[in-house]
């Protein structure tokens, strides 16, 4: 059952709105559910956004527009062209700029009456508690497991709500963790998946509108927490499938044995989350296979020499359409049942986008008895960098 929450902000410090603010927020003020009281709560609220990317974009825009008085932005990344498909805070002219600074400029333009603090830093176990302590609500829009566990534990240690959202391809999850009687992220998932088992957005892709929807749900939950109105997603995991266009809801329970929020707590300070998750960052290499390699330049000169080489492309058909090296396409997942298409007496060069999937393919084929097989180091990305820049990178 959903829990009614108490307003989080104590007695408002700002007690009035200027005439300009009254005009700006008039569509809030004429709703009894917000009104002057609610708008002042928003003005006095302090919300910290972890990540200014896909989820952070609608979060920043809507929370700034709604008049949340103090917004903190934490990110260490720089805007690049691949971000613009979904990170709608940024424009083409922001490419190359720091995300927190570009977001700050956009949000101050949207609402000059609010304070925006940008923290151009990676969130770590060393700085998290210090960063979080001055904010009422923490919103998790990060992209990797170590940071998600870090945000969760820091929120529990400080007793702050954690508005959670997560996306993959066309599926999203949202909930509110860290409320006094509610569950936390570790109650839901005591342990992260091993590195490499769950693909990241960079590997798996994401439909650009999806973070817009899930981030907007997080923004709505944040505003409801501030207003103390409605039923929040406490103890409820909202699942969204954009392809089926279906929302579902699952019950989340507080785990009495949870190491960070349960009855017998074993985690009482922040730990090393990279060690806990067994990775350095979200771009975890899969099973680390050592296979014989060829560099793009070596491959180019051998092709130019007229060597008889068989190029095996192990990407998916939709990737082949983006760009290819005229190789024979057998997606990695189909390789076991299509081995007969390959001639083990010929020299084979396997490649994919970055060299990771093709390393698995080379490993598999070597175990299947292929001896003359090499992996193209760095994949088609490196080919574009080192040999033929007309091949697009994706």
């Amino acid at each position: 059952m959903a829990t009614k929450v108490q307003p989080l902000t104590s007695t408002p410090k700002a007690a009035t709105l200027s005439n300009e603010e009254i005009l700006r927020y008039s569509r809030h003020l004429i709703m009894p559910e917000v009104g002057m009281e609610g708008q002042l709560k928003l003005k006095n609220a302090k919300v910290l956004l972890i990540g200014t990317g896909g989820l952070g974009a609608p979060l920043g825009l809507y929370l700034a527009a709604a008049g949340v008085g103090r917004l903190g932005l934490v990110d260490f990344d720089v805007v690049d062209f691949t971000n613009l498909q979904r990170q709608v805070t940024f424009g083409s002219s922001d490419v190359g700029k720091s995300k927190t600074e570009a977001a700050r400029a956009r949000l101050s333009n949207l609402n000059p009456d609010i304070e925006i603090e940008s923290y151009e830093t990676k969130l770590t176990s060393e700085n998290a508690l210090e960063l979080f302590k001055d904010f009422d609500i923490i919103v998790d829009g990060t992209d990797n497991f170590p940071t998600r566990y870090l945000v969760n534990d820091a929120c529990i240690l400080l007793g702050k709500p954690n508005v959670y959202g997560s996306i993959f391809r066309f599926e999203g999850q949202a909930t509110v963790f860290g409320m006094p009687d509610g569950p936390c992220y570790r109650c839901l998932y005591p342990e992260p998946p091993p590195p490499g088992l769950v693909p990241s957005c960079a590997e798996g892709g994401v439909l650009g509108v999806l973070p817009g929807i899930v981030g907007s749900i997080q923004a709505m939950e944040t505003i409801k927490l501030i207003l103390g109105r409605g039923d929040n997603l406490i103890g409820r995991l909202l699942l969204f499938d954009a392809l089926a266009m279906k929302f579902r809801e699952l019950k989340l329970r507080k785990n009495p044995d949870c190491p960070v929020c349960g009855n017998h707590r074993t985690i009482t300070k922040l730990i090393d989350y990279y060690e806990f998750c067994g990775v350095r960052g979200e771009e975890a290499p899969g099973p680390n296979v050592q296979v014989p390699e060829i560099t793009p330049r070596e491959l180019k000169s051998r092709l130019d020499r007229g060597d008889d080489l068989f190029i095996l492309d192990v990407r998916e058909p939709h990737e082949y359409q983006i760009c290819n090296l005229h190789g024979h396409l057998i997606p990695l997942g189909e390789l076991p049942r299509r081995v007969h298409e390959l001639d083990s007496s010929r020299e084979i060069i396997a490649h994919c986008r970055s060299g990771k999937r093709s390393a698995e393919a080379v490993d598999f084929l070597r175990k299947a008895g292929f001896r003359k097989i090499l992996n193209l180091k760095g994949g088609i990305l490196a080919w574009s960098d080192e040999v033929d820049p007309s091949v697009p990178k994706y």
Binding site: G51, G53, G54, L55, G56, D77, N83, R86, Q87, D140, G141, T142, D143, N144, F145, R148, G165, S166, I167, F168, R169, F170, E171, Q173, L188, Y189, P190, E191, P192, P193, L197, V198, P199, S200, C201, A202, G204, V206, P211, L237, L239, D241, A244, R248, E249, L250, K251, L252, R253, E282, G333
Partner: protein, 93 residues
Amino acid sequence: MAVKVIIPTPLRAYAGKRDSAEFKAATVGEALGHLTTQFSELRKHLFTDDGKLRSFVNVYVNDEDIRYLAKENTPTKDGDTISIIPSIAGGCR
């Protein structure tokens, strides 16, 4: 008794790109057994080498977490929906 197993996006690649499958099963364990027999590549993503459900994979019968029911022995009845909910971390940089 037919129960529907919903396969989440990250695992569809290992399940012939299917988004769900139906099986006759009296318990959650039985349904997941049928699922991983039909799609053998799914097995390592759901179970450890000694056959235990992996800790980062949550399984629900309708809207209830089986950890708070009878785990894999949780009985299922005709028309129940089993959801596999793996952790996803994306927020997308």
